[in-house]
Symmetry: none
Subunit: 121 residues, 2 copies
DNA sequence: CTCCACCGCTTGGCATGGCAAGCAGTCGGC
DNA sequence: GCCGACTGCTTGCCATGCCAAGCGGTGGAG
């Protein structure tokens, strides 16, 4: 009953490793960018440790991913929180710098990403 | 001269304490809700410790504030620059429903619309 | 083949996170 | 007066985060 996939640190580590490899970085390169030691990064990637906020942020920065994304992987947005589904859409709608056409285009793209059909409700 | 205000843990602690008092909760009550020990919560509020991700999330939950808000107080969102102009960009960055690739793509499109070059780092 | 540079991983140890137990102070009832 | 029940805080102590040093393995240059 290893249940690897349910282990939060394990999931986070796998995600980080994947991101690192996609960015074509070696473990040491990333560790240098994030200013953490290379052994510790290795341990994080293999799920042996749950990194602190500071380290998590540093890694997110070095990988050019948003910190929120990593926090999500770290298992902290599991249920009770309202994920604020509408936040992005609202922001796009309210943005004064967009023309109407641009606004519509952006919304279409965004909805296709999140799998939200305009809803014929 | 203890630069209290600049100490990330100190700021975070003060914020938590304020939120707790606004919610009319005693220290022990909040500690029970968040499932952390009351002495430790006391230490966090006074800036003596920097809580882990797990504890931070638990406290955010118990206080009914978004985890993101606490992370911001914890000093890990140095992107920050987001007055009015950046509302849309922030929303995209924070959106949990986007994959990293999608997030980047959306940002590129948005920036091309508003004529904003990445500018930073 | 030897050497050097890189890869990722293991090990020991110090610093910090986090808790159980116990402290002093305040308030209301007896 | 004395007593519980509440407030927040201090003090050991163990578990964990995090790093310096060193390991074996691979691949190209001499």
């Amino acid at each position: 009953m290893a249940a690897e996939a349910n282990d939060p640190p394990h999931v986070l580590g796998a995600f980080i490793r994947t991101q690192r490899q996609m960015a074509k970085l070696s473990l040491r390169q990333l560790s240098a960018l994030a200013e953490v030691s290379n052994p510790y990064l290795s341990q994080i990637e293999r799920g042996l440790h749950e990194p602190s906020v500071r380290v998590l942020k540093a890694i997110a920065d070095a990988l050019n991913v948003s910190a929120e994304t990593l926090f999500q992987q770290a298992g902290l947005v599991d249920d009770a929180e309202a994920p604020d589904d509408k936040a992005t859409e609202s922001a796009i709608r309210a943005d004064p710098r967009l023309s109407e056409a641009q606004r519509q285009a952006l919304l279409v793209v965004y909805r296709s990403y999140v799998g939200d059909t305009p809803a014929e409700s």
